[in-house]
């Protein structure tokens, strides 16, 4: 592992470096879902939109070709939204129905 890997950010939401990702993969976490759960990779506000492809490339380099990689789970919402906006929108719909 080179020193520069410790400076390269892969998951900017949760502050994980390339060195962190390679260390987790070397410990045996070999799917996107496992890496998320153990290391919080892709669990921040962007939900993996930045790091997913980078991590897939690392998994491939570690011996799991892309075609054999499990896709991982995409969960709503597509973009972060405040609880207040959802609550206000929901109340508006109710008053329109009434």
């Amino acid at each position: 592992m080179s020193e520069i890997d410790k400076e390269i950010i892969v998951c900017r939401c949760e502050d994980l470096t390339l060195a962190d990702v390679r260390m987790l993969i070397s410990k045996g976490y070999r799917t996107l879902d496992e890496l998320r759960r153990i290391g919080r990779l892709g669990m921040g506000p962007c939900q993996g939109k930045t790091c997913r492809a980078l991590v897939q490339r690392e998994l491939q380099a570690a011996g799991t070709p892309l075609k054999h990689q499990l896709p991982g789970t995409y969960r709503p919402p597509t973009r972060p939204i405040t609880l207040g906006s959802v609550a206000a929108g929901s109340r508006e719909e109710e008053s329109e129905r009434a």
């Binding site: 799917t31 879902d33 496992e34 759960r37 153990i38 919080r40 669990m43 921040g44 506000p45 939900q47 969960r75 709503p76 919402p77 972060p80 939204i81 405040t82 609880l83 207040g84 959802v86 609550a87 929108g89 929901s90 109340r91």
Partner: protein, 385 residues
């Protein structure tokens, strides 16, 4: 894959790996854990990550109090290189009806008799504990400081690593397709068939969580568990502002800020049908947002980043089924945790290992058996969201 083992555990959730570790620790290391997906992929990794001792039945109290003791020293006990992130910020339970408040008072005196430092609070006292709490309509609350949060992924990982070090084999992405019994399928357990081969074994543990019923069906047992979808969402992390889990049975909700800074919150939905769906819905997000921004108004400005769902494996009395089944020699169960399997897992591991090895029980579990439903001896837990 190994072709024989002393014990095969079906289910790589927190209970499966905790049982495996406790067996190995007691000298029975010839243990295999079979997991269909990856470790913690079912209810464990989908749960609300809460750890509570404020229960209404003696058994849940005994198990949860002893489990908290184990969480407190788990990083060291399991020699875990990571951190299970145990935060004892307390649980604040809210009462809105006379019936609810009466139940809380009964629970508190029972809990205190077990040595729990739980206390009843007026709405004003509750507001001191959670300053941003809206106390409108609140009759009273109970608070216990040693309840809290723990990271389910890391607890599962800690048990799995410790178990592997002692010799336990864990096969992920492997599904159990059948369980073989002696004679014409009526005798003791002789083996387990999986998608990756067969393993001869005299002992099988059903720790299959949401899928406990089909796994019981593999030995011809019809058990009264059923699965029910429950949904959760998590927000972006913000600076620490809420110590305890806030929980209201009246609103069927709970909400806690994790050590990471995010808020995890969930709702029970009484209209939910039993089944195996773990898809999330927009209706949940709307209802959750409405209720939580009323109860904890500053959360209006916090962003939701993710929502998901998981299965509660329910029993008729909302109390787990633990231990052997006399009709099927060699078959043990740790199922039906009814939404609190994670927080009880440390003791479930101990009690199942003791039961399987025929060792004296730390907490007697005979009454937690499957037979109690036929005998009509229920342990109805009043306090479940």
């Amino acid at each position: 894959m190994r072709n024989s083992a002393e014990v095969v555990i079906i289910g790589g959730g927190v209970n499966g790996v905790a049982i495996a570790y406790e067996l190995a620790k007691r000298g029975c290391a010839d243990v295999v854990v079979i997991e269909r997906d990856y470790l913690g992929s079912g209810a464990t990794g989908r749960c609300g990550a809460g750890v509570r001792q404020q229960w209404g039945t003696e058994m849940n109290l005994r198990m949860s109090i002893a489990s908290v003791k184990k969480f407190e020293t788990m990083n060291e006990d399991l020699a875990y290189a990571g951190d299970i992130e145990f935060k004892q910020g307390g649980y604040l339970l809210l009462a809105y009806t006379d019936a609810g408040w009466d139940q809380f008072k009964k629970n508190v005196s029972l809990q205190q008799s077990f040595g729990l430092a739980v206390r009843s609070c007026t709405p004003a006292e509750a507001k001191q504990i959670v300053p941003h709490l809206n106390t409108e309509g609140l009759l009273g609350a109970t608070f216990n400081q040693t309840d809290g949060h723990c990271n389910p992924f890391h607890v599962t990982d800690a048990y799995a690593q410790a178990a592997r070090r002692l010799g336990v084999e864990i096969y992920t992405h492997t599904e159990v397709v059948g369980i073989r019994r002696e004679g014409s399928g009526r005798g003791g357990i002789v083996g387990v068939d999986t998608t990756k081969g067969s393993i001869a074994t005299p002992v099988v543990v059903n720790a299959a969580g949401g899928w406990s019923k089909p796994v019981a069906g593999m030995v011809g047992l019809d058990i009264p568990t059923y699965s029910e979808r429950h949904q959760i969402l998590v927000t972006e992390p913000i600076a620490p502002m809420q110590g305890p889990m806030v929980m209201s049975f009246h609103h069927h909700l709970y909400c806690q800020q994790t050590p990471h800074g995010s808020f995890i919150m969930g709702l029970g939905d009484s209209s939910e049908q039993s089944g195996y769906s773990s898809r999330s819905t927009w209706q949940f997000v709307e209802e959750m947002a409405e209720k939580i921004t009323w109860l904890l108004p500053p959360l209006k400005g916090v962003r939701i980043v993710r929502q998901w769902a998981g299965l509660y494996n329910m029993t008729p009395d909302r109390t787990p089924i633990l231990g052997p089944v006399p009709a099927v020699p060699g078959y043990f169960m740790a199922v039906g945790f009814s939404g609190h399997g994670f927080m009880l897992a440390p003791m479930t591991g101990v009690l199942l290992a003791e039961s399987i090895l025929g060792q004296p029980a730390t907490i007697p579990i005979e009454k937690m058996d499957l037979g109690r439903f036929a005998r009509g001896e229920f342990f109805i837990e009043p306090s479940v969201v």
